[in-house]
């Protein structure tokens, strides 16, 4: 779509000039791998690093994606959005570019996690498996950033949005299958974890690592993503008439 690449380039340059932002996005996942992946004493699996890496991958995409709404929000607050909307570029390309930029940034972080995990002892997978992992992370990234953008368009105020992301991220992560398998969870947690969209992505990546092809989770993720993107497109169109 016309304009998408230019919008992405703009966001990418802005992000890359923010040194602290770049360093933090790279250090954070590494910290998770070391402190949770290596240091945590767990007994239910031999290689906890292999178990936790999918969880950390998905969590990284989650925390990057959930903040994506603020990109569009700041463009709106600072007057950029009005300038862009007054241009003969398809308006939806603004939304699409935000979703893609955040997802691609998340995938960049994911790449660093995968490399780092292998270095500190995770099992090396074959290229096809990695390709499938990227597809899942991509779908999940678009899903989360579309969700976040929709909420941001509704809330329309940065403080509420920051409160919202803080409120959503932690519970969503701890009620997923990221940290432990379902059979060691308490019953209530296992029920929640089964319907948590994070678990879909995490379980799918674990299935890939185990050697199977998770058609159903990928299909479900695809449907979820399509629904959320449609809603967010609708809301975006409504506020930009």
């Amino acid at each position: 779509m016309k304009g998408v690449l230019t919008y992405i380039r703009r966001d990418f340059i802005r992000w890359s000039r923010n040194k602290v932002g770049v360093v933090s996005t790279l250090v954070l996942p590494a910290a998770w791998l070391i402190f949770v992946g290596i240091a945590l004493p767990v007994k239910f699996t031999g290689n906890y690093l292999d178990f936790i890496t999918p969880g950390i991958l998905v969590m990284t995409i989650l925390s990057t994606g959930i903040s994506s709404g603020s990109l569009l929000m700041f463009d709106k607050i600072l007057g950029f959005l009005n300038k862009f909307l007054a241009m003969p570029v398809p308006r939806e390309s603004i939304l699409v570019s935000k979703l893609l930029f955040i997802t691609l940034r998340g995938l960049l972080q994911a790449t660093i996690i995968i490399i780092f995990a292998v270095i500190i002892g995770a099992t090396l997978l074959n290229p096809l498996q990695y390709a499938m992992i990227y597809i899942i992370l991509f779908l999940f990234g678009v899903f989360i950033s579309a969700f976040s953008t929709t909420v941001a368009l509704y809330l329309d105020d940065h403080d509420s949005f920051a409160a919202f992301t803080a409120m959503v991220t932690m519970p969503l992560f701890f009620t997923s299958s990221a940290l432990m398998p379902y059979d060691v969870m308490p019953g209530w947690l296992s029920t929640i974890a089964h319907i948590n969209p994070l678990s879909f992505a995490i379980d799918a990546i674990r299935e890939i690592s185990a050697g199977s092809i998770p058609i159903i989770p990928i299909g479900l993720l695809l449907i979820f993503t399509a629904v959320v993107v449609t809603i967010s497109g609708y809301v975006f169109r409504k506020i930009t008439v």
Binding site: G3, R10, I13, R14, P88
Partner: protein, 339 residues
């Protein structure tokens, strides 16, 4: 004045895209926010001139600009830009226009060149780099083109924005308070650029609070109040509707109205009361007597030529904070600042 402006253009350059239609034409353009009528049946026609839309805060200036730039849908009526209807052919409208909001939206962590390049690429300009070089030179930013925009002064940022708005050679350019917050030299510079653009045949539609600038640079001004046009014409024409002289009186306390032959009450702004008079020197003592007689405590009186301020005061009346708009304004403010 409109014809003068047109002749002025023909002397310089022929139209680039053959926009033979009137640049901006509105027919009963109306916008309601709930019960509030922000713009009420606006009928204006602007072509190849510098048109200034004046009005107190909350009078509907920005709402008008937002509708004309296809950023806000009108409630009733219609408008066209270069013959393209704003609601039926918004894409074509966006092709002919540029909009520079008052927020000074420049990416401060990008260089001036990068900022402008984004616009050139978004507009799909051929050889965007050459076009950007050219415009940076026009806007006198070539020396600083590769510095981050956060190191730019307010005037430079405005010039950068103006340059961005020119990448696709629009027919009509909308400027919302183009000189707000700039120092005198920067303002003058911006106005020189706006004038030059107009000489090339571009239609400039702007809003401003600065009467002296509107007086000096606009071919025509429209004063709107409560969404309605209160006065429309060239600054000279509007001023000539007032009598030859203006007498300004500063009083203490409440003003009790007086009637003096040969003078006309213009309006009140704070403790300042304005009258217009055919012969100010003769009217001055008569007015002083009458005011004292009516029990007004006159602090000072002065005599001067009418300015656009007086026209504004007469059209808009007593200047108060517009109560009815407060909530709306507050929301706008919050949206802008993101508080």
């Amino acid at each position: 004045m409109q014809f003068e402006a047109r002749a002025k253009r023909q002397a310089y350059e022929l139209p680039r895209r053959g926009c033979n239609m009137v640049a901006i034409q509105t027919e009963n353009l109306t916008k309601k926010f709930g019960n509030l009528c922000a713009v009420d049946s606006l009928n204006i026609s602007v072509d190849k001139e510098i048109f200034g839309l004046l009005g107190p805060n909350g009078s509907g200036k920005t709402t008008t600009v937002l509708m004309l730039t296809t950023l806000l849908a009108q409630t009733e009526g219609s408008a066209s830009i270069c013959g393209h209807d704003i609601s039926r052919e918004p894409d074509k409208v966006r092709d002919c226009i540029s909009y520079v909001p008052q927020d000074m939206a420049v990416d401060s962590n990008l260089t001036g060149r990068e900022n402008m390049l984004i616009f050139a690429q978004l507009y799909g300009i051929k050889n965007p780099k050459d076009r950007v070089d050219e415009l940076l030179a026009v806007m006198e930013l070539s020396d600083r083109a590769d510095d981050l925009a956060k190191t730019y002064s307010g005037g430079m940022r405005r010039r950068l924005e103006l340059g961005e708005a020119l990448v696709h050679e629009p027919e009509v350019i909308f400027l919302d308070e183009p000189t707000i917050g700039l120092d005198v030299a920067a303002r003058k510079n911006i106005w020189n650029h706006i004038n030059a653009l107009n000489h090339k045949g571009m239609t400039i539609f702007m809003t401003t609070h600065y009467m002296d600038e509107a007086d000096q640079y606009c071919d025509r001004v429209g004063i709107i109040n409560h969404g309605k046009v209160a006065a429309l014409g060239s600054p000279a024409e509007l001023k000539s509707r007032l009598m030859k002289d203006v007498i300004t009186v500063i009083i203490d306390g409440k003003y009790s109205p007086v009637q003096v032959e040969g003078t006309l009450f213009v309006g009140q702004s704070g403790d300042e009361i304005s009258f217009t008079a055919g012969n100010g020197r003769e009217a001055l003592p008569l007015l002083a007597d009458a005011l004292n007689h009516a029990g007004n405590k006159v602090r000072s009186m002065s005599l001067r030529e009418p300015s656009l301020d007086d026209v504004f005061l007469q059209s808009v009346g007593k200047q108060e904070e517009p109560q009815g708009f407060e909530e709306f304004k507050f929301h706008m403010m919050i949206h802008r600042r993101g508080l």
